[in-house]
């Protein structure tokens, strides 16, 4: 147990070591550690943000998909409606066309009937005239009797 100048030497050495550590060892290491801590924290934060953004994007995609489905359904419904309309329209048109053709046919038939009737009437007149001529046995002045005959025709 002998104290001697070694004590002072050790104190000086110790002081120098502390000074050196303070100046050159501690600050760079602690700084690097703090920087790394910050970077890790930032990385974690941005990962968190990424997850959040992905969730948002997914929600948005789902929304868009839903809208697109809705739109498609609307379009199909509209097309169906339009098709029904066209069918209805076609039915109406067809019916109208049928009616029109029916009417035209009836008119033609009537015309034919009229024409036949006219012919018949003419022939009846001729027959009547010939019959009358035979009955009267004399020449009938056709010119004088034409007015009377026409009048007769009109009466038939």
């Amino acid at each position: 147990m002998n104290f001697n100048a070694t004590l002072i030497g050790q104190m000086i050495t110790f002081g120098l070591l502390v000074l050196f550590t303070m100046k050159y060892v501690w600050p760079p290491i602690i700084q690097a550690m703090q920087e790394r801590q910050k970077r890790i924290a930032d990385g974690l934060a941005s990962a968190e943000r990424g997850v959040h953004e992905q969730e948002l994007a997914q929600a948005k995609a789902a929304q868009t998909l839903k809208e697109a489905k809705q739109q498609a359904a609307d379009i199909v419904a509209q097309a169906n409606k339009r098709a029904n309309e066209i069918i209805e329209q076609s039915k109406l048109d067809a019916r109208a066309e049928g009616n029109r053709q029916l009417v035209a046919a009836q008119a033609e038939i009537e015309q034919e009937v009229n024409r036949a009737r006219e012919q018949l009437r003419g022939q009846v007149v001729n027959l009547a005239v010939a019959g009358a001529g035979k009955i009267l046995k004399r020449e009938v002045d056709e010119a004088a009797n034409a007015a009377m005959l026409d009048d007769l025709v009109a009466q038939l």
């Binding site: 002998n2 001697n4 070694t6 104190m11 050159y24 501690w26 290491i29 602690i30 690097a32």
Partner: protein, 255 residues
């Protein structure tokens, strides 16, 4: 190793004698100074290397190790010291690593370095600086000086004097306050220095005693003691560091 009492005593005494130059107080323990300075240089070289190439990217193994130490010390300082002081954390790191390296020398086979020195013509060699009172007290007295320095710096000379004279018994018991303070402040470096010295001195002595056993039986005691010593050397370095932090934080606070 002879087992006769006389040469066993001689062997132990030889192992406990420092390599000394000079006489009386101004003698120097060359071995203590050499080993402590070398270990200090080793500490500075290692940590300097890590500090120079310190990067916030992926750290290399050395940087990683140094960061673990720095972080460990930093946590200790933050836990017990609440002021702002740029000295304390590096001081604590220096104390911890340096004392740890001193103590680690205890694990070097007890005869190895003295035998090599003997071949080189050096008669005495003690390789564990912390088994020299000069080392442990050199450090603990330095810590005491720092405690005083910061006490006076933080509180101001007047406030500091007031505190010394009037705490804890009030101003009417001034002499007792002063006496108590002196005892308290003497106890700090003595307990710091003696605790470290005592532990390591005893440890070294046990190693020397184990070395006196026949060679084929030594490991049965040497191995457990060395393993146990791993705990002791770390614990002692840790205690020295923590107490230093505590004393310095007390210096920054009002009683």
């Amino acid at each position: 190793m002879s087992e006769s009492g006389h040469s066993a005593t001689g062997y132990i005494v030889h192992h406990l004698t420092n390599l000394k130059v000079g006489e009386g107080f101004w003698a120097l323990h060359i071995d203590t100074l050499f080993f402590s300075a070398s270990l200090g240089a080793l500490f500075l070289w290692l940590f300097m290397k890590a500090a120079k190439s310190a990067t916030s990217d992926v750290p290399g193994p050395l940087q990683n190790f140094c960061e673990i130490m720095v972080d460990f010390v930093d946590t200790q300082v933050k836990d017990s010291f609440h002021g702002r002081n740029p000295v304390i954390a590096p001081l604590a790191l220096t104390i911890f690593v340096w004392v740890f390296l001193w103590n680690t020398m205890d694990l070097v086979p007890v005869d190895l370095l003295p035998a090599i020195a003997g071949l080189l013509g050096i008669p005495y060699l003690r390789v564990v600086p912390s088994t020299d009172l000069n080392s442990t007290f050199g450090m603990s007295i330095s810590v005491l000086l720092l405690v005083y320095y910061y006490s006076i710096k933080v509180k101001g000379p007047a406030h500091f004097t007031m505190e010394v004279l009037t705490h804890p018994f009030g101003k009417w018991l001034m002499p007792f306050n002063l006496l108590l303070r002196i005892v308290e402040d003497l106890a700090k470096p003595i307990s710091l220095g003696l605790r470290l010295f005592g532990n390591l001195y005893a440890g070294e002595l046990i190693f020397i005693l184990i070395a006196l056993l026949p060679w084929w039986i030594q490991f049965t005691l040497g191995w457990p003691w060395a393993v146990f010593h791993i705990l002791v050397i770390t614990l002692q370095a840790f205690i020295f560091m923590v107490l230093t932090i505590v004393y310095l934080s007390m210096a920054h606070e009002d009683h």
